[in-house]
Amino acid sequence: MQQRSPKQSKEPNLPLPQAYPEGHKGEGRGEGAAIANPTSNHPSSLVINVEGLSKRFNGLLAVNNLALQVRRGEIYGFLGPNGSGKTTTIRMLCGLLTPDGGRGTCLGYDVIRETALIKRQVGYMTQRFSLYEDLSIRENLDFTARIYGMANRRRVVDQALERLGLGDRQKQLAGNLSGGWKQRLALAACMLHEPKLLLLDEPTAGVDPKARRDFWDEIHRLAGEGITVLVSTHYMDEAERCHRLAYIAYGTLLAQGTVAEVVENSGIVTWMVECADVYALGAQLRGRAGIEQVVPFGNVLHVSGTDRALLEQSIAPFRELGECRWTAIQPGLEDVFIQMMEGARDNV
């Protein structure tokens, strides 16, 4: 990765106070001239365009009336708590599940009727490692290449191995690889048939930070080549590396847009407090009018709420004490998402 903003080397969980840097957002886009302008919402530049998508399991609503627009060449983050319907949505997009309701297209094909055509052009990376553990690295890639009927199978597999840097370990069983390598192999396998759209379901769960960073560099490189990527994740630092993102909870889409837009539209006010004893202070703050979230981040405390006046009224007595340093900051994505999730639960 050529341009890494310094903040990304910080703790992954530290929410970022400022808006998303422009340089990052534009990254990779210059590399592929063929990419349509990602800011355009014209139907032809939408790789995924679905609306009203719903799915029930045994009467339980897993995805509720979901609309999603993903533009070509975009890295689209898909966030939400466990069980919020992320995996179900991804499975519906690639034809693994039949939606109970809704309509739309994926790569220009109907998501209900033309799943076979979609499957040919989509690379789907499952949440769990789903290559054959008892097949070697090469055999796995070879199998995938055969399934997609690739003409120059040998060369394609050789190239993939070389890119992976696994050429000398190609005879090793896939099951013996470490988590990070498994994930890279899985990505290589689902990229083998040169799909136009990548659907990645929590690709970096349980992978160490270095491997995660490498993985994301690779995703940005692919996006630069014009490939559209829909990626679900729990990690906020990963969310911030997406061009745009959607937040889903209890099967319902709660927010959509760039990081800056999502933060801005959330209407959350956050104060950062630096204090000697953040836990004591936290205990006193919790439950006061207007204070909806009190979250410690190491030596600092984030105090958030949606009603600015009420919040500031509640913290005023503490600020007057002068023991701690209070700073108004822009809320981080995590603050925003937790807030949204709480709100959504109240509505469900």
Binding site: R91, C94, G95, L96, L97, T98, T115, A116, K119, R120, V122, Y124, T126, R128, F129, S130, L131, Y132, E133, D134, L135, E139, F143, T144, R146, I147, Y148, G149, L173
Partner: protein, 378 residues
């Protein structure tokens, strides 16, 4: 989905299955080892006392005496006259196809020679491929000759009563004259072993994909259900043939089982039987959620197959309802085919009556399996 079958995807699945089979050394060893061990273990006979065995009476003498003899046969409860063939040829076909267990030949002039005190003979041909099935019935025969006609021998014939028997019953144990149990058991084992390994292996092959999560990956590719199914079946057909060859070799070399019919024909009809069992395995795998369930379902099918097919106990010794259930099972028909070919030297013509029920079974099960195979994760 109107897409056509694609060879490259089918071959991809076949190749993958072969590699996985090769990697799983223990399972592969079991697939070859099970037949050998069972062959050794089943060196003992299983006994029973079946009654009402179907009997054809080929009578060239329509006298009171022959009727009395047939009645006496039936009264012994071992024989049940089910056919009165018009010719020797027809009788021969009946016993070869297994339609009857015995053919009673009453010669011409039986009554006249009996009355003259010439002690005529009645020939009883027994299908002795399964010696336990005919053993007791045969035992009852000698007693019969003694007393069957006592009631008819009156007046001047009175002296013929009692000893020695007024006529002679000659028994001809067909196909297995010495009544060697292994002749029956060893060919039968072929069917039993194929049933168990074929169903279990295919059942596991599919549920393994689901359990390990690789099914999700497979479903996300353009591969079609039929390609997956066929691709998984082919490697196991080959395993099946290896087992058949092993058992045939053991049958010939270790147990000295005669191989009268065409081995070629056997290899052909075995295909239908293997396919039927594989389809059962695949159907189970579309229902079972994990490998454990697939295993349990295998035994759910395997036990009745073993008990009701005529492998463990003589088929004709079972009550009628059990025979009906047994008639649905492919193993029942396969046993008759394989014993027919090996021991009776049956050709294709005599084999056909047992081939079509297997074919019918196969078609039904494949239809259910394809219907149940889920192209999605719903």
């Amino acid at each position: 989905m109107s897409e056509r079958f694609a060879w490259h995807r089918f071959i991809a699945v076949v190749m993958k299955e072969f590699i996985q089979m090769r990697r799983d050394r223990l399972t592969f060893a079991m697939m070859v080892g099970i037949p050998l061990i069972q062959l050794v273990l089943f060196g003992f006979a299983i006994n029973s006392d079946p009654k009402n065995l179907p009997t054809a009476v080929l009578s060239a003498d329509h006298s009171e005496f022959s009727r009395s003899f047939v009645r006496a046969l039936e009264n012994s409860s071992y024989f049940k006259v089910t056919a009165q063939p018009a010719s020797e040829r027809e009788a021969e076909r009946m016993i070869a196809e297994g339609e009857v267990q015995f053919v009673v030949n009453i010669p011409q002039n039986f009554s006249r020679r009996l009355q003259r005190g010439e002690h005529p003979a009645i020939l009883i041909e027994a299908d002795a491929t399964d010696p336990t099935a005919v053993g007791n019935a045969v035992g009852a025969l000698s007693q019969l000759a003694q007393s069957a006609l006592d009631h008819d021998l009156r007046g001047v014939l009175q002296p013929l009563q009692g000893k020695p028997a007024p006529f002679e019953v000659r028994l001809h144990r067909r196909y297995n004259p010495e009544g060697i149990t292994q002749y029956n058991i060893v060919p039968g084992l072929m069917g039993v072993i194929l049933t168990m390994t074929m169903i279990m292996q295919t059942g596991l092959a599919m549920t393994r994909e689901r359990e390990r999560g690789t099914m999700e990956n497979l479903l996300a590719t353009p591969v079609r259900p039929f390609e997956v199914m066929a691709g998984k079946i082919v490697p196991y057909i080959m395993v099946g043939y290896i087992q058949v060859t092993l058992i045939l070799l053991a049958a010939r070399l270790i147990f000295g089982v005669p191989i009268l019919g065409s081995v070629m024909l056997l290899y052909i009809v075995v295909l239908a039987f293997i396919a039927a069992n594989l389809s059962v395995g695949l159907m189970f795998s579309t229902v079972a959620k994990n490998q454990m369930q697939a295993m349990q379902m295998t035994f759910f099918f395997f036990l009745p197959s073993m008990l009701l097919s005529g492998f463990m106990f003589p088929f004709r010794g079972m009550p009628e309802w059990a025979q009906k259930v047994g008639s649905v099972l492919p193993l029942t028909h396969f046993l008759r085919m394989v014993r027919g070919i090996l021991l009776k030297g049956n050709g294709l013509l005599e084999t056909l009556p047992h081939l079509w029920p297997i074919g019918l079974f196969l078609l039904t099960v494949v239809a259910i399996g394809l219907k149940r195979y889920r192209k999605t994760l719903d």
